[in-house]
Symmetry: D2
Subunit: 262 residues, 4 copies
């Protein structure tokens, strides 16, 4: 996703869209108000921004979620305090999440533009999608699950239905499947990666079990529509995925600009 | 570079190091202060940040620099105003700067840990370095120039000598050379990519001419020491470089986490 | 107004509500994560914030508005550039706007909780209100005009109708009246001080003429309901008003916590 | 203090000086880049800021400090979590700290421009100062203690000696004295109000005991030199002090622009 001041949050939230502002501009140069380099017309522009690290396309750090007062690798949850995460922060992944990526275009396989908001993607659907795409998931892969949800929200301008609302996605039943295949990271084109509500005894089981007990790195708000179109065209659903997070020290998540290379 | 609150700016500046702060923590979960999911011990962490977009490793947008009241593609400089860049912003590069990368380890070739701060890297030195490395620069490549400067600054903790101070790098004489080879982007392990001072009639000619008239994308504060060590070991100085900027809408620069893949 | 992350902006805007976040907490102390003072249980909390300077109750600086490329005192408008205001900034008022204040409770005088959104407060209404309140406006006074609008918006939760929407207030016809009486500053309980739309050849004439040509300091989003209730009770509509803006250097506006003292 | 991007923090710190940036400027108006009001030359300027709430002149909230896992009024410290303070926040003082103020110009009484950095102001010195000034402290007063420290730091440009360094001020022995007189709030022209180091078994006893057990509101980085000069001239060291904090919801401190009115 572009880092945009207007979306995805369209109402006040604990998540802040990127708020960019300027400290030097070309209009200043035109108006004769910048003398940076001693020559009229020669100048520069500079900007700053405030944003939530998980405001748009991002990876959750393994420090993002807790269960039973623990985070990944049996670390106590309080190691994430007001100074940040002293373990499992996003910066430990600074040169990771670069490797084989596989797209499972579930929406495409089911022949819809987007899955309905209450659609729980089952393991059977996932397997059928991969089989139809003639691609397999291997150990260490990054699996991208396309629901079509983000694209639909954008087309319809329905952003208020996007944040902490019902959404299609994988559910708790896919955790053993992901574990058995040794998937390193998963991402989807929705808000919280997983189906919501969870229809499970635990809210957000992909977070609580996947992040905390399996060390599964979750990616959210990935734009997958253009990638899916490309894969449909050439029939190749595996690629080199380069998606290292920005290494904010001590952060519990970070924006990323993921790129699929064929 | 890691996105770090303490460096590279160590004094107040128009550039702000990333200032991260928390809106949800594991310490809150431990202290019984988070009831996000209705189950004690089950919770999450979230953070936000304020930073200058060019505070650490970044690409300059083609809207970052002006000469003679113009920016790239003969656009008037005032198209970069207090709302941001309406042309040549960083987000037009959202899926670019992914391709063949070549490292020119000038410091390594000259047998020093880091070039002196007044070292102007000449075209002859650049060519000798590439020849000794048995690598050639091709059209569309991204050229990474290693001066060793950033590594030296970090080793010595000499950050106050890093910002807008003398630094080694390429100078104006390399512009025709870059143009002739069709280099798409260049980056270095220093503050402003180019040698400072410029020893030319124009301050920052790589910016003023390279960005404005040639559309050369400049990268600054790239960490190249580990990459150079790897290239020395396997003798391969060309690689797949994946370095798309974070697509902040309308921004005049953006942080990047560049990855070399062999 | 309290500085609140949720209001008055309820949609993305060029104005940002205060976004507060923590860098040290008591939950950290409880969880044993803060060792600031070498004694368990002894610690501190600290926070930071990002906000637009005109997000809530504030004074406009004389650098906030331009007409015919000029700002107050015939200064060229470009003296407000991306570095801020080099003339007429809010910090020149750091020890000002402390003096006699007068409340004109127009809504109260007209016997309504709040004026309708299309109500243009005329000079006749203003004079009738002051006469009924047995109070006069003197040279150098700060005049507070109560429309009831902000209170109504809050009661109804109608914040989306508050920002850049129709609102009751004074109009251009009151400018000569304010000038003749030597009023130093004016404020109201609405978004932009003045009636919107202006029903005048110029949009926002109180800003364009009042700020630029008269040097009138405008205050917006002042909470006046409690003050009005107090004035009704004791019949005294004049008081000592202490309302110096926070002196942000170079700023074009600043938050204020205005206090009426009787 | 003016809210200044350059001071008091001159090195990276957990406290951030105000970082102001622009979202609309007069230079844009001049360059024809703002069409806000449909008339060339008619426009506005707007800015935003990121800052620590205790970066400059401020009041500590009663939620700012903890001792023995408690804060004021026997509240558990974890009520200050990553969402802010749910008790004792600064916004409960939104219309407070307006009343009789008394200046104790200790530096002036001792005939020095500024007290040395290791000067512990004793109760005897405080009483001698007040006696010499012919002023008494009464119940509910706000006591301002002038050490001259902030003025000296500014004159000498010695800001690196200002943050968490030795400083002159009151010490723990003055707590019973303040309690006996019913002082409501105290402030000084130094960084942390009190003498540092504390020469007591507890670090920062004015915070740990004064805030936590006495509910004493502490003010820091108050500019008192101009006020002292005025008091010396007219011999009146008591005045109306208007110093309500900016009411940031849930904050543990807030900037203030304090005004003494005679």
């Amino acid at each position: 996703m572009d880092l945009d001041p207007d979306v995805p949050q369209t109402k006040p939230s604990y998540r802040l869209n990127p708020q960019r502002s300027m400290v030097a501009t070309g209009a200043d140069v035109r108006a004769g108000r910048q003398a940076a380099f001693g020559l009229p017309g020669h100048g520069f522009a500079d900007d700053m921004v405030s944003l939530s690290l998980q405001a748009a396309t991002h990876w959750d750090a393994l420090a993002h979620c807790f269960h039973d007062y623990r985070m990944y690798n049996d670390r106590p949850c309080e190691l994430v305090d007001a100074k940040g995460a002293s373990r499992n922060a996003i910066d430990v992944l600074r040169d990771r999440i670069v490797g084989r990526g596989v797209l499972a275009d579930v929406a495409g396989h089911l022949g819809v533009g987007a899955l309905p908001a209450d659609h729980h993607v089952t393991v059977a659907e996932l397997e059928a999608t991969l089989a139809a795409q003639h691609v397999e998931v291997r150990e260490g892969d990054v699996l991208l699950v396309r629901t079509g949800h983000l694209g639909r929200i954008r087309r319809e301008g329905a952003w208020t239905s996007f944040i902490e609302c019902d959404e299609p996605g994988l559910g708790h039943d896919s955790l053993p499947w992901l574990r058995a295949r040794g998937v390193a990271a998963v991402a989807a084109d929705n808000w919280a990666f997983e189906v919501m509500p969870s229809r499970y005894e635990l809210q957000l089981p992909m977070h609580a079990i996947g992040i905390v007990y399996m060390g599964l790195v979750l990616g959210e708000m990935f734009e997958l529509d253009a990638l899916a179109a490309d894969c449909r065209e050439d029939g190749r659903y595996a690629f080199l995925l380069s998606a290292p997070p920005l290494p904010f020290k001590g952060a519990v998540g970070a924006p990323v600009n993921p790129i699929a290379i064929k």
